[in-house]
Amino acid sequence: MTCAETIELETPPAPAGNPVRLPMGLLGFEQIKDYVLVVNPGEEPFAWLRVEDNSALAFVVVDPFVVLPEYKPDIPPADVEFLGLKNADDALLLGIVTVHGANHATMNLRGPVVINRHTHTGKQVIITNANQYSVQHPLPVADNVA
């Protein structure tokens, strides 16, 4: 698994997406634990973290390093242990995107979703250096979408 493929899990991306289990849910959505990571052609670098039920509820996610190459999150030891991460390449990071409008979107850099590529288990992690980053980091959205 090369780093350039950070949006992909170990198994090849299936059209239906890759299952992701968040045993602790997302903050505020602790009861929802099963998701599917869907990457649609033409929508990259965005992907969807879709709730694994029939609700069509989903979160827009993005590889934070695509937007902010200098992003350097510190993952707390408890989370490294919980996720069974042996080295940084084991982890897929996703920033949850909030679409505020056609020309305004932000991503959460304080609480990225960290997924073990091999087990597909993840957790929303509050990074140790959260005070260096914003929960609403602006995305460079194109002014006009024709």
Partner: protein, 88 residues
């Protein structure tokens, strides 16, 4: 909620391995020192609540339109390596 009175310098111990000490009072600010194993995450409550609110705001339907990023998105070269994994 258990309410305890403590003076500066005094502590409470939680579960035998987490110590919270009142360091000092500065006006209406209480400085707390927290000694906990590295595997116990300690955060300000506001950070939790801020991320909760952000998640609630971010929840959407999969059919909703996505923004277009300005400029070509750069491939995240060696991206994962920039992350620091703290060893337990």
């Amino acid at each position: 909620m258990l309410i305890l009175s403590r003076k500066p310098g005094e502590s409470i111990v939680i579960d035998g391995h987490i110590r919270v000490q009142v360091m000092r009072l500065e006006g209406d600010v209480v400085k707390l020192g927290i000694e906990a194993p590295a595997t116990v995450p300690v955060h300000r409550q506001e950070v939790y609540e801020e991320i909760q609110r952000s998640n609630q705001q971010a929840l959407t339907k999969q059919s909703s339109p996505l923004p277009k990023l300005a400029g070509a998105a750069k491939p995240p070269a060696a991206a994962a390596k920039k992350m620091n994994l703290s060893k337990p």
